[in-house]
C-alpha cells in the first residue's frame, strides 16, 4: 500500500513541481545568453530586459526551494487535514503508510530541487574552458584520495554525511507536519495554532540542540576530530533521530486521536 501511496503522491505533487523545474531550467538558459550580452552596449530597453532575466534567474534559484517547501506544506494540509482527508484517511492504509509516503516524496522532491537548481546555475554560468579545469581538479582529488592511507575512513565519512543529511531532512519534514497536525486538531484558528506549535516546539528543540552542541564541544576538546568523528556523528545523528521520533509520534497521535475533519 505504501508503494501505491507514493505513486499517487508523486503524481499529485509532480504536476506542480515539474513545471517549476522546467521554468528554472528555461530561465537558466535565457540567463546564460543575458550574462553574455550584458556588456555588449545594447539599447537601454533591451539592457533592462536582460537585467530582468538575470533578476528572474536569481529569484528562480531561491524561489525553487521556497516553492518546493510550500508544495510540501500545502499538500499535507490539503490531502490530510482538509476535505481530501475524508478520502486519504479512509483508504485501506495505516496512518504510518500515509505519513511515510508524504515524507519520502517530500525528501525526493527536495533533493531533486537541489539538483535542478545546481544544474540551472551550471547552465547559466558554464564556460567551455571549465571542462579542462574541472577535469584537472577531479584528477587532483583522485590523487589526493589515493595518497590517503585510510581510504575506508574517508569513504565512511562521506556516507555518514549523506545519512545525516537524509535523517536531518526527514526530521525537518516531520517538524512541520507535527506542528500542522497539532494546529489542525483544534476547532478554530488552525493555521495560527500551527504557527504557535512551531514556535513552542522550536523553543523546546533549541534546548535539545544546545545540549547537543555543549556535549560536542566538550568531547572535541578531549579527542581530535579524525579520531572522534564517529563519536561526533553518533551524537549528531542520535539527536536528529530523537527529534524525528518525537515529531513522528506527535504527528501520528494527533492524526489518529485529535483529527476532526469539518
Amino acid at each position: 500500500m505504501l508503494g501505491k501511496l507514493i505513486k499517487h503522491e508523486f503524481r499529485a505533487t509532480g504536476r506542480m513541481i515539474l513545471p517549476m523545474f522546467a521554468a528554472v531550467l528555461i530561465v537558466s538558459v535565457l540567463a546564460r545568453f543575458a550574462f553574455r550580452m550584458l556588456d555588449s552596449g545594447l539599447p537601454i530597453f533591451l539592457g533592462l530586459f536582460l537585467y530582468f532575466i538575470v533578476f528572474a534567474f536569481f529569484i528562480g534559484l531561491i524561489g525553487a526551494f521556497i516553492y518546493t517547501f510550500v508544495i510540501m506544506v500545502v499538500r499535507f494540509k490539503r490531502n490530510i487535514l482538509s476535505d481530501e482527508g475524508y478520502l486519504t484517511m479512509t483508504l485501506p492504509a495505516s496512518i504510518h503508510s500515509v505519513l511515510w509516503s508524504k515524507i519520502i516524496v517530500s525528501i525526493v522532491w527536495s533533493a531533486a530541487t537541489v539538483l535542478v537548481v545546481g544544474l540551472g546555475a551550471v547552465i547559466a554560468a558554464f564556460d567551455a574552458s571549465w571542462v579542462y579545469d574541472i577535469l584537472k581538479d577531479l584528477g587532483y582529488l583522485a590523487e589526493l584520495f589515493l595518497s590517503i592511507d585510510n581510504k575506508a575512513q574517508v569513504i565512511g565519512w562521506f556516507f555518514a554525511a549523506i545519512v545525516y543529511v537524509i535523517v536531518y531532512s526527514i526530521t525537518y519534514c516531520l517538524n512541520i507536519y507535527s506542528c500542522m497536525a497539532i494546529g489542525y486538531g483544534f476547532a478554530r484558528h488552525k493555521a495560527l495554532l500551527s504557527g504557535a506549535a512551531f514556535i513552542a516546539i522550536g523553543i523546546v528543540m533549541s534546548w535539545v540542540s544546545g545540549s547537543e552542541l555543549q556535549y560536542l564541544a566538550v568531547m572535541n576538546d578531549q579527542v581530535p576530530f579524525s579520531v572522534g568523528f564517529y563519536q561526533n556523528f553518533a551524537v549528531m545523528l542520535g539527536t536528529q533521530l530523537f527529534k524525528g521520533a518525537v515529531f513522528y509520534v506527535i504527528t501520528w497521535l494527533n492524526l489518529k486521536y485529535r483529527l476532526n475533519l469539518e
Binding site: 500500500m1 499529485a12 476535505d83 481530501e84 482527508g85 475524508y86 478520502l87 484517511m89 479512509t90 476532526n260
Partner: protein
Amino acid sequence: MPILEARSLTKRYGSTPALSNVSFAVEPGRIVGLLGPNGSGKTTLIKLANGLLQPTGGEILIDGEKPGARSKSLISYLPERINVPLWMSAAELIKFYDDFFADFDPARAQEMLRNLGIGEKMRIKEMSKGTREKVQLILAMSRRAKLYMLDEPIGGVDPATRDYILATIISNYDPSASVIISTHLIADVESVLDDALFISRGEIVLYDSVDHIRESRGKSVDGVFREVFRC
C-alpha cells in the same frame, strides 16, 4: 456476526457530548436509515465507524474489528463533503479507486458515468456541485463493499437526481451487503429502507424495522419522525 456494532459508544468534543452510550448492531443485508435532525450525532457516528474519529468511551466494531486498514477495505464511505481531488478527471479517479480498493469495479463506474452523461475526461473542478456529488456516489457505489455508509447522499440535489441516486443505491449494492443512509429527508428514502435508527442529541430513541414501525404506530416513518422530533 453484525457488520456494524456499537457497544456503549460515547463521543464528546471537549465537554460537549455528541454520542452518549450508544449500542446497536446492523446485520448483513439490511438497508438502515440513520435518521435524525441536524446535530443529532449522525455524522459523528459515521466518522467513528470510518476511523476518522476515536471514541471517548465504548467501542465500534466493523465485521468484529475496530476501525483500521482492514475495516476501511470493507466500508464504502460517501461523506457529505466533496472529498476527491478537484484536479483529477473522472477517469483518473476511477484509476485511483481501482488502485486502492480491491473490490472496486471500474466497468460499473464507467457505465454509470455514461448513463448520467458525465464525460470521463472532465475534471472535477470543472463540474457543477451536483455533478461532483454524482461522481462521488458513482465511485462509492462501484465498490462491492460489505458495508456502504452514505452521509446525506441526497441532501443537496434536486428531486430528479434524488430519485436517480436512490435507484443507483438500490440497484448497485450486493444483497448480502448492508447500507447505512444518513439523512433528515425521511420521505425520500423511506421506500428503500429495511430498518430505521432514530438518533437524537447523541442517543438512540428508536431502532426497529420500517414495517414494524408502520404497523405498531399506524404512521409512516416520516410521520413518526415528525412526531418524535417535533420542535
